[in-house]
């Protein structure tokens, strides 16, 4: 290349000529491997600590918060990093949720003969959240995420080519289409005999309960699984932010014309961000449906999408830890204000307005929590623990 362009053999002139750094075993361990153990540790602590500290009800709220962390962090990749405005995240969550519910419910009925929760294996006095049912759930969640991602590709490819508000309109429509289609789905089958006897015409109507929603899903989404996936989502999103992909996302948000001139393929990166968000939105939905939360077509509606958008905006557009923090606050706050009856909605709104006036860029802006407080952080070390939930990075 240097010869072709007549560039001097000055070593500093080209990226390719920078001496290759060979990361040592210690560095690889610290940067690549240890954070995953952090993720695992968060999950284990959540599984065995949450209920003991917060009680049964508190643990349920925390589990919901964990699911919303996944939703908010993944939406943040589109709305925060890349600066696009998606209003249909609930639609992807609902798709993922219904797919996972379908797999677990009908899979359990057909193979295990019942959709009751299986007995947990006990090893050395500790009951472990890992049964065949859990594997079925995980398969369903991954499948749900993948189907959500494919839908994300189909929705994103045409609308992300255009500039402006098209994505907002299209995604808003997408959420509503999902909701209406789910309302038209077939009745849920509750007995094994009925399921065995069902012909293709029954399956083609997608028997997931119509407007009533799907029910009877075994609650396999223990704290372990929710916080394992939540922490993993945070880690992946944070690593993405620190990579060439993340810089490309952020540059698109900052200035599309300049990003293009620097060689960024706008559509390719926008679609990548969108598909990423759709996948993890689907995963969040898959967990939610297994957490004992009633799941109806209303879950795809725009109110849910808005809740997640508020989390992203409140936490700071582009901040992973900000989205985590906001998801925690906005999941716990309504519970704390429950005693105020309907006045809590007013207070909730006032708090939001006050926050937007005081910190219009969200709580953290584009920075991470450890960049705001305390010393400068070097890439890849374990971050400040954000409320014991998902601060690993």
């Amino acid at each position: 290349m240097a010869a072709a362009t007549g560039q001097p053999a000055d070593g500093s002139a080209l990226l390719a000529s920078v001496p290759r750094h060979r990361p040592g075993a210690g560095e690889v361990l610290r940067e690549a491997v240890v954070p995953w153990f952090g993720v695992l540790a968060v999950a284990i602590v959540a599984q065995f600590g949450l209920e003991a500290v917060l009680g049964e009800y508190g643990a349920r709220v925390a589990q919901q918060a964990g699911v919303y962390i996944i939703a908010a962090v993944s939406l943040n990749v589109v709305n925060g990093f890349t600066g696009q405005f998606s209003m249909g995240h609930a639609g992807f969550m609902a798709v993922g949720g219904y797919v996972a519910a379908f797999v677990t419910y009908y899979g359990s009925m057909l193979w295990f003969g019942t959709a009751e929760k299986m007995a947990y294996p006990v090893v050395m006095g500790v009951s472990l959240p890992l049964t065949m049912g859990h594997l079925l759930m995980l398969g369903g969640i991954v499948l749900g995420g993948c189907i959500a991602a494919v839908l994300g590709l189909l929705v994103g490819l045409p609308s992300l080519r255009l500039r402006g508000d098209y994505l907002a309109i299209v995604t808003l429509g997408f959420g509503e289409i999902v909701r209406v289609m789910l309302e038209q789905s077939g009745e849920q089958m509750f007995s094994v005999e009925q399921i065995r006897a069902a012909g293709p015409e029954v399956w083609l109507r997608v028997p997931v309960g119509g407007a009533l929603g799907i029910s009877g899903i075994p609650k396999y989404a223990d704290s372990f699984w929710i916080f394992l996936l939540a922490a993993a989502t945070c880690l992946i999103a944070y690593r993405m932010k620190q990579s060439s992909t993340g810089r490309a996302f952020l540059s698109i948000r900052e200035d599309e014309i300049a990003a293009r001139a620097m060689g960024i393929n706008l559509t390719a990166y926008k679609v990548r961000a969108f598909v990423f968000a759709a996948f993890f939105g689907g995963v969040a939905g898959g967990l939610l449906v297994h957490a004992g939360v009633p799941f109806t077509p209303g879950n795809a509606g725009f109110q849910v999408s808005f809740e997640i958008i508020i989390m992203v905006v409140l936490g700071g557009l582009g901040s992973v830890s900000g989205a985590v923090l906001a998801a925690l606050i906005l999941s716990v706050l309504p519970e704390l204000l429950r005693n105020l009856a309907e006045y809590r909605l007013i207070l909730y709104a006032l708090l939001l307005i006050g926050m937007m006036l005081g910190r219009p860029k969200g709580l953290l802006g584009v920075r991470e929590i450890w960049e705001v407080f305390g010393a400068k952080k070097t890439t890849g070390k374990n971050g400040v623990d954000t409320g014991g939930k998902a601060g690993v990075a």
Binding site: T5, G6, H21, R22, A32, A248, E254, A261
Partner: protein, 302 residues
């Protein structure tokens, strides 16, 4: 320094042949032709609204040329998308600075390294050794680039917080990090004071030599253009009216007319006062008058 064209072993690097674009009835650029040798520092001047920035937008693919061809180092680029043109080796700065304001100075440059090295998705998610090596190389190189521009100590600052002159320099630095063959600078001296302009002129000549680039420069400061450019094309109303060395261009009656108005048109043709002024005073101190090419000019080029 002399304004002679440096030896160009590779011949023509950027060959623009008869490109044109119209916006409705407005012929913004017509039949624009430009032959840039390797290693050349080329000036593109003309009164306000002559179509200079439009030509940059055509070259970089922001607008698609309706006619003509653009060949960069043997590769036809006129129909390519902007990011592909950047990959082919054409990089630019903007008249109104377009930095990534929320990103740090370092990240602005690291982003621009993207074209010559990026991470795969799995490598990113798993942060594999290849990722660590690549990231380290990108950071090293970006820091080197910043040091060339004396911006190294500002690496951690948000780009939006930089003083104006540093923002201009960072934009050039970022454009260079894409490893271009041709660098397009759109009024890099706009809004700068004389001492900043002097240092900018030094920077432009230095980077041309150090990185072996061809530079195409749009500039209103005639002193700067006449001093550092080897060749100049003058544009008026979207058409080329003069091509040549700084001396030839300055002596061309058509150029004088474009800037001062035709002698007999007098009252009708409104003279461009800004252009008149820089043309006559020749920018900053020491340079010759408009008829006298300031060879060996006032800018230290070291």
């Amino acid at each position: 320094m002399t304004n002679s064209i440096p030896p160009s072993p590779g011949g023509i690097l950027l060959d623009v042949n008869g490109i044109g674009i119209s916006f409705g009835g407005l012929k913004a650029v017509q039949n624009f032709t430009l032959k840039m040798p390797r290693g050349c520092l080329y000036g593109l001047i003309g009164p306000n609204g002559a179509g200079k920035t439009t030509i940059f937008n055509l070259l970089t693919g922001v607008y698609q040329a309706q006619r003509g061809t653009i060949t960069l180092d043997g590769q036809r680029v006129e129909a390519l998308a902007p990011h592909k043109i950047a990959a082919a080796g054409l990089s630019r700065t903007f008249q109104n600075i377009r930095l990534f304001g929320d990103l740090t100075v370092l990240d602005n440059v690291k982003l621009a390294c993207h074209l010559r090295g990026r991470h795969g998705i799995w490598s990113t998610v798993l942060r594999m050794p290849g990722f660590l090596a690549q990231e380290k190389a990108i950071t090293t190189r970006a820091m080197e680039m910043l040091d060339v521009f004396g911006l190294g100590h500002l690496a951690g600052e948000q780009a939006r917080n930089l003083p104006y002159g540093d923002q201009r320099r960072l934009e050039i630095c970022r454009a260079l990090a894409t490893e271009p063959k041709v660098l397009l600078l759109d009024e890099p001296a706009a809004g700068m004071n004389p001492s900043e302009k002097r240092s900018l002129a030094g920077t432009i000549t230095t980077i041309r030599e150090r990185f072996g680039l061809a530079v195409l420069l749009i500039e209103h400061d005639m002193g700067l253009v006449m001093d550092i450019c080897h060749n100049i094309t003058v544009l008026d109303h979207g058409e080329v009216i003069s091509v040549g060395t700084p001396r030839q261009v300055q002596d061309d009656p058509k150029v004088v007319e474009a800037y001062l108005g035709a002698p007999d048109a007098g009252m009708q043709a409104e003279p461009d006062h800004g252009g008149t002024k820089v043309m006559q005073t020749n920018g900053h101190g020491g340079g010759g008058g408009s008829g006298d090419a300031p060879a060996g000019g006032s800018h230290g080029t070291a």
